[in-house]
């Protein structure tokens, strides 16, 4: 998981890229594999929820997301977690610049 997070003028902007094949049912069938894709992503800063999305098979491979939230959180840590269809989970952390 690659995270870039920056606070400026009272707004924090985050760019994140997850490493995941995001195999849709169609793609999985063609490749003779099982479909699997990220289904839910949540981001928190200091126990405060800052981003939340439920996702489908139609996000691109290695999905990229950009989001923003109010407040200056310079020096604080952002914690981003995803879960996929098969129940795999991953959490990434990054200090906000």
């Amino acid at each position: 998981m690659r995270i870039k997070a920056k606070s400026k003028n009272g707004i924090t902007t985050v760019k994140v890229m997850f490493k995941h094949p995001m195999l849709s049912y169609d793609e999985a069938k063609k490749k003779g594999k099982e479909a699997n894709f990220i289904t839910y992503v949540v981001a928190n800063v200091e126990d405060k929820k800052v981003f939340e999305v439920s996702t489908s098979q139609f996000l691109s491979k290695n999905p990229y997301m950009k989001f923003a939230f109010k407040g200056d959180f310079k020096g604080k840590e952002i914690v981003i977690s995803w879960v996929d269809l098969k129940g795999n989970k991953k959490t990434g952390k990054k200090k906000i610049k």
Partner: protein, 159 residues
């Protein structure tokens, strides 16, 4: 009992372990499992918006939407349907859902905007063919939408 039930969800367990305040997590895979299965009309080759409309109704309870309030950015022509950048923003919203008419199912994602969240998002999506990208935002109990046709030319062979 309620608590045990909640912990039964894999994601609930994740939320509890990682961050106690996300007990209020809204995972629409668990909350609305059927909306993800709503099909686009495949015979229309991306032209029909029936799937999008059905999915809007299933998520928000109505498909009455007004145009406006949302700025949607998507390419006019996407040479690679596997990576189509889509951005959208609105001044405020509690929920935003993203749809397209090009793939087998209509729904792409549902964003729950947290209290301090700013509804200004970018993602990259897959589109099997030319179709319409639609964003619906819930603002003060009303639904607003914006949509755009994205022409997909796979591998530059002219779709």
């Amino acid at each position: 009992m309620e608590r045990r039930k909640f912990l039964g969800f894999g994601l609930g367990a994740l939320a509890v372990m990682a961050m106690p305040r996300t007990l209020m997590a809204t995972n629409y895979r668990e909350k609305l499992p059927d909306v993800w299965k709503i099909k686009n009309d495949e015979a229309s080759k991306g032209k029909s918006l029936d799937g999008t409309k059905k999915a809007i109704k299933a998520i928000f309870g109505t498909d009455k939407v007004e145009e406006g309030k949302i700025k949607l950015k998507a390419p006019d022509i996407a040479e690679n349907g596997a990576v189509v950048p889509v951005s959208f923003k609105t001044e405020k919203a509690t929920r935003i859902a993203l749809f397209q008419s090009a793939d087998p199912e209509a729904l792409v994602a549902i964003f729950d905007v947290p209290e301090i969240g700013i509804p200004d998002y970018s993602v990259r999506i897959k589109m099997k063919q030319t179709g319409t990208v639609t964003v619906v935002a819930e603002v003060d109990g009303k639904l607003y939408s914006a949509s755009k046709v994205v022409k997909v030319t796979i591998g530059g062979c002219g779709g």
